[in-house]
Structures are given as structure tokens and as C-alpha cells.
Amino acid sequence: MLLRVENVIKSYPDTEVPVLRGISFGLDRGDMLALTGESGSGKSTLLHLTGGLDIADSGEVIVDGTDLTPLDDAGRATLRRGTVGVIFQQFNLIPSLTVSANIAFQARLAGRHDAARDADLAARLGLTGHLHKYPEQLSGGQQQRVAIARTLAAGPRLVLADEPTGNLDEAISDAVMDLLQELVAETGAGLILVTHSERLAARLPRRLHLRAGRLT
């Protein structure tokens, strides 16, 4: 199993009740899963825990055989570099690097950069004509495609996408999702997509719904 989440509980100092209250689920390679729920239901928190961006209070998060709970900062950083790829709602591109450098960045960090693969991804995501531009020179949809290319160029086993089309209009959003699904399917990675949108969630074969910190 690619991902196993067991009875995870997570709370924050400024909240009275835990954000996540005993979450358990699993994900196999090649699986694609939509994680939906109201604002504040704990979707992004769960995504961050599975991506090693945050630590659970209790329970287990096992990614590709590695339990994240006992890992220190360096250990979780290694996981984020090599195993997991996160696509953020706000893109989180590095504004001072060109599109080309942004796409290659995570793969170079992970030590498995492949220029041919970068070029292929850029071509399929319609970014070939923008490789020497800087993020600020691109539209929101183009920036999100750069973020997707960056994640996939690093060849992660698990792709986590946090509202990746939240800032885009419907038409661009559909186009981006088509590409994301297609490319993830090709790599055989697992995908968890956090979204508010029923329409986007309906595109994926599996769905988990969070309400007040519990899966329903």
C-alpha cells in the first residue's frame, strides 16, 4: 500500500476540539482520491499530514512503508523531496527563477533531474513558449501548470493537490485537471485531490468526505 493513515488525531493550540478526530484510510499505487468537505473540516490538515508538512498528535501516517510520525525535520524533508509531490493552491513557485528552472527545481533537489522529461512535460502542459519567462509574467492557469510540471518532473510516488484549481475559472480548471489526471495516471503515482468542488470530485474514481474532523 502506498499510503496508510491510521486513527490520526490532530489539534491546534488555538482550537477547542481536534481538527482531525481518528482518521483512517489507505491508498494504493495508481489510486486517485478526492478529499472533500466544508471549510474548516480538516481537508488541508489531512493533506499536510500525509505530505510530511505537519505532524499528527497521534496515530500513524505511513507513506511508501515509512512511518512519518517519528521523523524529524530532516527526515520529513527527505520524504517531501523524493516521495511526495505537493501542488499548492497558491502555486508556490519561486518568483526569481524562470519557468524552466522552476520545473526542474524539485527534481534537481531530489537528484533525479531529466531535461528530456522536463521538455516533454512543458510541451504537454503548453509551456514551451514560456520557459524563459518568470512566474509573474504568466497567467494564473499557466502558473498552476508550471506547479504541476514541477511536481511531476520530480517523479513522486504520491501526488497531493490542495485545491489546485481554486484560483482558476471553470474552463481553465477543467483543462488543468485533465492534464493532471492524465500525467499522474502515466506515472502510476497515487493522487489525493483536496477540493470544494463537487464537479471536480466527481471526476475521480474514489471520494472521501470530511465533516468536523471525521470521515463520513
Partner: protein, 794 residues
């Protein structure tokens, strides 16, 4: 991986060169300020030393022929061989110019135009035809002589200095010496003078040497202001680094989210900063010395002049100056960056960028609390602290507390100003100004410290000047001081003075213990010399009249403080002689107590003491004739000191410290102005979301630019207003607390309102100039950029 991370970190600077320039400029300017102030301080010290050294010849004991005539050079050689550390001097006249021949290898420091170890000038001074040092006017009056003429503005008027061999040749007195200066440190094993040269006598040092203690105090205060300039620099570095980190926070978050380990990231950022600090430090050291040299145009003349060798060495940027400058840059950067790196290390990976104003507001309460605590601590140390360490701790607490208190105080004042505002624009202006304070706070703190330093330096240097001149007027009021070897020679002096001088003031004193401390009891003749020149720290009405009637005594400050005396307190100066204190006078060079009584009373109490030293009053143009008459009567030149000329000379040299003050003003305010400029430029981009709605609501870009300019002036004016009391408090702390702890006497503090006004205008000018470019850019901002704020799509 490190290379990938570094490429991302460095790409930020490539894309944002202005931010890199801001950081480098901040670091370089802080270093420049430090190294520049060190150079300026060195110059100030040298100026002051020169002023003191002009009086210095009298500080040394002298050996002369018993009959007042010349001695043989062989006698000098014999004395040196017998272990005496002495230096020969020959004097004479060429035309109407006084020619003094010195031996630079043995002359005490500060007396000659060049010194041993001073470099190439020494060779030229000694070799061949030799060199003659004098003021330009004096050189012009010199008859045709075979020696190179060198202009030296620091040599006393109508005096020319040269090597003793050259002087012997020009005066046609080969192998002759007039006197020998006895250096302070003498070997204990030397043969007694009577055995080596029975025809010579040794005379004691004269008045005027006490200036050295005043000099020590001046040096201490300049050192304190050197540290203050470092604090100004530190705030600028803190501002530059804080902004650089603030700007890269999103990138840091992204890098960490993409799997960059925190430790590696922090280490690489620290290494990056260290490299930048070294580059900026190198630029800063060179810049600092360049600025110092440019601001002190007479430095070049000084190099070839009185004490040039040492200063020339410093300005040639010796390795120690480079290293200390780079050390300051690295240390200051480490100190300033430690907080930013700590905050970065503890930044939650998932935290959104908190609004800057909110963060600042949260930390603002803590900052105000720390500021209040530091100011209370400073007050407590001023009241109850003891020792030099407590004095400096008080100074530090006052400085940091004052700087930290600035943003909360500005917030309060701006909130108060917002109240009466009626128009919408005015309301927005004050609210927006308040919102800008956190972003500008470090630059404003730097301006506050820069202004406070300037107010403090101006006050300190001017107070020193007044004290120095007052002290000289008090102690060296007579035009000529003469010293007799015995009562017969004293009678000769009195006889000559009756015909050639306006007044003769016997200098009578005796050492006794008074009020439990070693004390010099000194007789004052009832004469205008004392009444006109002596200044009291505290006195009863008509102190001189009452002193002349024998109704009391005057005591110096040291005795007043240490013996806990006050006006009216009675002191016992001799058995049965108990007299009240009529006045307390400043006596800055004297380590012991002093009691002044009227001359008749002194003679009654100590009839065994006879006057062998005299101050002779004369019209300045009659001094030369008086001197000639005394010489003709058999008094050796070494027994006569033209203190008035020396005093005028030392004051002229001391005036250079004002050039130093101006240089310091220009330097610190320019640096603070640059810090404001950089902050404004950096904030300009961040401010667009605040300005765009106001622009959209109908305020033109030109109006917004004008308001921005006005905002900078308002903030600078408020900062200047708060800097004045802080600067005065600093000067007071140095003069009245640190100085007392270090030397046991307090320097009077004088206020110079016009200087402060000029400084305020300068500070407003610096802030206005700094705001001009950002305001101009704002007035020309393309509307598309403002509209970009409203775009939904990023």
C-alpha cells in the same frame, strides 16, 4: 543539493537587484560609519593632542647652564652616556623668526614636526639641507636659507622648527645647545647630574601640564561616541537584513515545502550573509576612510605637518583597520541576523504570511515594555549606580531604550494627530502614516540614534571647548611666565618687571593636608587677572572681594566633591586658621585638592615660602621686549614661557575639532538618510495594495506622492523632536556620570540651541531627499500596476 538551494537563493538577488543593493549598502554604510568615525575620532584626538602638546614643552623638566648661557654638545653626549634620557634644543632668531632646533629621534612625542618611526619625512628632515617647518606666513618672512621649506599650519606663530644640526648651521652656532628636555621616564641607575655636569641645573616642569587629564577625558568621550556610531550602524544593518529576510519568507517556505532541510537552509543563508558582509565590509572600510578624508580637508596638510606620520599610517588602510572593519561588519551582521535566522528557524512551515502590521503590532507591546524597562534601568543606574561599568551600562540602557521607545511613541503621537483630522484625505494620511511606522521603524531608529549622537557630540565637543578655553584663560592668563632659581634672581625679575611689565603676579603655593586630603594651598594676589578669568561652579556673592578681605577661601571641585564641602563650609588650612568656602572652581587637570587664599593671608600663614615663579602681565606687543629685557638681565630663555602665544596656538588647533563635528554630522545623517531611502524604496512595492484603493477613489498619483513626501518629513520631524532630549541625555550621561566615574570631576554641560536647530534642518533635509525619489516614482507609476492589485487572477 546545496548548489540547487543556493541557485534559488541567489536568483532572488538577480531578480531583485535593488534589494541586494539595499542589503549591501546597509552593511557597507554601517561599516563605513564605524570606520569613518574611527578615522574622524583619530583626527579629533590628534587635534586635541596637538592643542595640548603645544603647551607640552612646559610639561617636561629641563636642564640648562647655571649661568643661563649655552652648553656644549659634548655635555649632551656625556649625559646620554651617563644614562640620562634627555633631548637637546637650540633656539635663536633668523630675522624676526624664532628658530627652534630639535632632535627628532629623542624629542618627546608631540613636540617635533616629525617623529622617529614616522616614515620618509624623518629622513628628509635629518638629511642634506634639511627641512624647516613653519606656518606659511612665517616661512614667507624667513630670510634666504638653504633648507627645504615645509608649510605646517600647526607650528606656533612666528616660530620655525627644524633639526638641531640644521639650526646650529643656520644660527652659526656649531656644537652648541641651549637646553635639554628631560623626558618623563628616566633610568634609575643614571649618574647624578652634579657628577656628570656640575655647571648645569635641572628645573621643574611648569604649569599647563594638567591639560593631559582633560585630554584623557576627551578621548574617553570620543570612544563612547564611536560605540554610539556602531549602534547606529547596527540598526541600519538590522533594518537591511530584516527587510531582506522579510522579502524572502515566501521563498523560504516554498523551499522547505519542496523538501529542503531547515538546517541546511539556515546554514546556507548564514554563509550567504557572511559572504555579503565581507564584500560590503570591504567596501565600507574603504568608503569610511574615503569619506573621512574628504570631510577633513586639512588631513592632507596634517600628514606633512606636526603629527602626520601616524595619521598617514591610519589613512593608508593598514591591515588592522581592514580587519577591524571586516570584523565589525561580520559581527554586526551576525548580531543583526541572529534574530532573523532564529525567527526563520521557528517559522511554521504552513503558516500563511501574517500581515506585517499585525505582527508588528503584536511585537510592539513587547517592544514598548522592554523600552520602558531599559529607560527605568538607565535612570536607576544614573541615581544609584557606582563605577565606570555602571556608567556605560546606563549609557547602553538609555540608548537602546530610547531607540526601542521610538515606534510606540510615534504610534501614540500619530493616533493623537488623527483625532482632530476632518477631511477624508487627512484622516487617511494619519492612519496610513501610523501603518507605515512598523516598516520604517528600524530606519527611523537609526535616524533617532544618528541625531542623538550628533546632538550629543555637538554638546560634548562644544562644552569641552568652552571648558578648555575657560581652563586655559584661568590657568594661563599671564602673557609671560618666568621662573627664578633663587631669591636673588627673583629680585632681578621683579626689578625688570617693574619697568617693562604691567603687573607682576607671584605664584606662591605650599602643599599641606586639608580636610583629610593632600592639598595645594595657593596664594592669589588681588588683581583683575583672577577676577576676570576664573570661573566658579558655585560661589557666594562677591567672592573675590571677600577673599581679598581674608574672609574665606576658594576650593577646587575635587576637594568640594571628595570632602563633601559646600558654600559656607569651614576648612582648616593651618592651625588656628578656619575659614569658610566662598567659591568652588573647576580644576580639571589636578588630581589633588586646592585651596586658594589671598596673598597677605598666605604670607602670614607661611612666611617661610618665597616666590620664585611669577606671572607677568603685559600688552601682547610688549612681550618680546619684556623677554629681551629679562634675558639681558641674565634670565635664561628656558626660564621664560610665552604662554599666551602657546595658548592662542592650542586654541587654533582645537578649532579643528569643529570640522570633526561637522564631518560627523554629515556622515551619520547621510547614512541615516540612506537607510530611510532604502526602506521607502523597499516598502514602495509592498504599499501598492494600500495605495491602489485610495487612487481608485479619486486621489491622484501626484497627490499620493506629495503625501508620501510629507509623511517622510512628518516622521523625521517627530523623530528629531524625540532625538533632542535623547542626545542631551547622552551628553549629560557622558559629561556628568561617565566622566565623574572615570576621573572624579564633572565637566560642565552647555546648551547650543542654534546647533540643534541646524541639525534638525539637516535631518529633515536628509529625510526629504530620501523620500524624493520614491515619491517621484509613485507619481509616475503606470495605472496598470495599480490596477493589477484589483485583478482577481494572479
Amino acid at each position: 543539493m546545496s548548489r540547487v538551494i543556493l541557485s534559488a537563493l541567489l536568483s532572488h538577488w538577480q531578480r531583485n537587484p535593488l534589494q541586494l543593493i539595499t542589503l549591501l549598502a546597509g552593511l557597507a554604510l554601517a561599516t563605513a560609519l564605524w570606520s569613518g568615525v574611527q578615522a574622524i575620532n583619530a583626527e579629533a584626538r590628534a587635534s586635541y593632542d596637538a592643542a595640548a602638546a603645544t603647551l607640552g614643552e612646559g610639561r617636561y623638566a629641563q636642564i640648562t647652564a647655571r649661568d643661563g648661557g649655552a652648553m656644549s654638545q659634548d655635555t649632551y653626549v656625556a649625559l646620554r652616556r651617563a644614562g640620562w634620557a634627555v633631548s637637546p634644543v637650540i633656539e635663536g632668531r633668523i630675522g624676526d623668526v624664532r628658530l627652534v632646533g630639535l632632535e627628532p629621534l629623542t624629542a618627546p612625542g608631540g613636540l617635533g614636526p616629525v617623529r622617529a618611526g614616522g616614515g620618509a619625512d624623518l629622513g628628509a628632515f635629518l638629511s642634506g639641507a634639511g627641512q624647516i617647518f613653519a606656518r606659511a606666513g612665517t616661512l614667507a618672512r624667513l630670510p634666504d636659507v638653504t633648507a627645504e621649506r615645509v608649510t605646517a599650519p600647526d607650528v606656533a606663530p612666528n616660530t620655525a622648527l627644524t633639526d638641531i644640526g640644521v639650526a646650529q648651521r643656520l644660527l652659526d652656532r656649531p656644537g652648541q645647545i641651549d637646553r635639554l628636555i628631560v623626558l618623563a621616564d628616566q633610568p634609575l641607575t643614571r649618574t647624578p647630574l652634579e657628577q656628570v655636569a656640575p655647571g648645569l641645573i635641572r628645573s621643574a616642569p611648569q604649569e599647563g601640564g594638567d591639560v593631559a587629564r582633560l585630554t584623557d577625558s576627551f578621548h574617553l568621550n570620543l570612544t563612547a561616541f564611536g560605540l554610539l556610531s556602531f549602534a547606529v550602524g547596527l540598526f541600519i544593518v538590522q533594518g537591511a537584513i530584516g527587510l531582506a529576510f522579510e522579502q524572502r519568507r515566501p521563498m523560504v517556505r516554498t523551499l522547505r515545502a519542496l523538501g529542503v532541510p531547515l538546517r541546511r537552509l539556515i546554514a546556507l543563508m548564514a554563509a550567504e550573509l557572511a559572504v555579503l558582509a565581507l564584500i560590503a565590509g570591504g567596501i565600507g572600510v574603504a568608503l569610511g576612510y574615503g569619506i573621512a578624508a574628504a570631510l577633513l580637508p586639512d588631513v592632507a596638510a596634517t600628514l606633512r605637518g606636526l603629527y602626520g606620520a601616524d595619521v598617514a599610517g591610519q589613512l593608508s588602510l593598514r591591515p588592522v583597520w581592514w580587519l577591524s572593519g571586516l570584523g565589525i561588519a561580520l559581527g554586526g551582521t551576525a548580531l543583526a541576523a541572529s534574530g532573523a535566522l532564529w525567527s526563520l528557524a521557528h517559522m511554521p512551515l504552513l503558516s500563511g504570511a501574517q500581515p506585517r502590521a499585525l505582527m508588528m503590532a503584536r511585537s510592539g507591546v513587547g517592544q514598548a515594555t522592554i523600552a520602558a524597562l531599559l529607560l527605568v534601568l538607565s535612570g536607576a543606574l544614573a541615581l544609584w549606580g557606582e563605577g565606570l561599568l555602571a556608567g556605560f551600562a546606563m549609557l547602553g540602557a538609555l540608548l537602546i531604550g530610547g531607540a526601542l521607545a521610538l515606534p510606540p511613541l510615534l504610534g501614540l503621537v500619530l493616533r493623537w494627530a488623527e483625532g482632530p483630522a476632518r477631511s477624508a484625505t487627512a484622516e487617511w494620511f494619519w492612519a496610513d502614516t501610523r501603518q507605515q511606522v512598523p516598516g520604517l521603524s528600524l530606519a527611523l531608529m537609526a535616524l533617532l540614534l544618528a541625531m542623538a549622537a550628533n546632538v550629543g557630540v555637538s554638546t560634548m565637543v562644544s562644552s569641552f571647548r568652552l571648558t578648555f578655553t575657560g581652563f586655559l584663560d584661568q590657568r594661563l592668563a599671564s602673557e609671560l611666565y618666568v621662573r627664578a632659581e633663587d631669591t636673588a634672581q627673583a629680585d632681578v625679575i621683579r626689578a625688570v618687571a617693574r619697568d617693562h611689565a604691567d603687573a607682576i603676579l607671584p605664584l606662591l603655593s605650599v602643599d599641606r593636608r586639608v580636610a583629610g586630603m593632600p592639598t595645594e594651598i595657593y596664594a592669589a594676589r588681588d588683581h583683575a587677572t583672577y577676577r576676570d578669568n576664573w570661573q566658579f561652579l558655585r560661589a557666594v556673592t562677591d567672592p573675590w572681594d571677600r577673599l581679598a578681605r581674608g574672609e574665606g577661601v576658594l576650593v577646587n571641585e575635587q576637594m568640594y566633591r571628595r570632602a563633601g564641602l559646600g558654600l559656607g563650609s569651614e576648612v582648616v588650612i593651618a592651625p588656628g586658621a578656619r575659614l569658610p568656602v566662598l567659591g568652588i572652581h573647576g580644576d580639571y587637570g589636578n588630581p589633588i585638592g586646592q585651596v586658594i587664599v589671598t596673598e597677605p593671608l598666605f604670607r602670614d600663614l607661611y612666611p617661610e615660602v618665597t616666590a620664585l615663579r611669577f606671572g607677568l602681565r603685559s600688552a601682547p606687543d610688549q612681550v618680546a621686549a619684556l623677554r629681551r629685557a629679562l634675558a639681558e638681565a641674565g634670565l635664561p630663555q628656558a626660564a621664560m614661557t610665552d604662554q599666551a602665544a602657546l595658548k592662542a596656538m592650542s586654541l587654533a588647533v582645537f578649532e579643528r575639532t569643529f570640522t570633526v563635528t561637522t564631518a560627523l554630522n554629515v556622515l551619520t545623517l547621510a547614512v541615516a538618510g540612506f537607510a530611510i531611502l532604502m526602506s521607502l524604496l523597499t516598502l514602495a512595492a509592498m504599499r501598492l495594495p494600500q495605495l491602489a484603493p485610495v487612487w481608485a477613489l479619486g486621489v491622484t498619483r501626484r497627490s499620493l506622492a506629495r503625501l508620501d513626501l510629507l509623511r517622510a518629513l512628518v516622521l523625521a520631524a517627530l523623530t528629531a523632536t524625540l532625538a533632542l532630549p535623547l542626545g542631551l541625555a547622552l551628553a549629560w550621561a557622558l559629561l556628568a556620570v561617565v566622566n565623574v566615574e572615570a576621573f572624579g570631576w564633572r565637566l560642565p554641560m552647555y546648551l547650543f540651541p542654534l546647533d540643534y536647530l541646524r541639525l534638525t534642518v539637516l535631518a529633515l533635509g536628509a529625510a526629504g531627499l530620501a523620500a524624493l525619489w520614491p515619491a517621484w516614482r509613485l507619481s509616475r507609476l503606470p495605472p496598470a500596476q495599480l490596477l493589477g492589485v484589483f485583478r482577481n487572477e494572479r
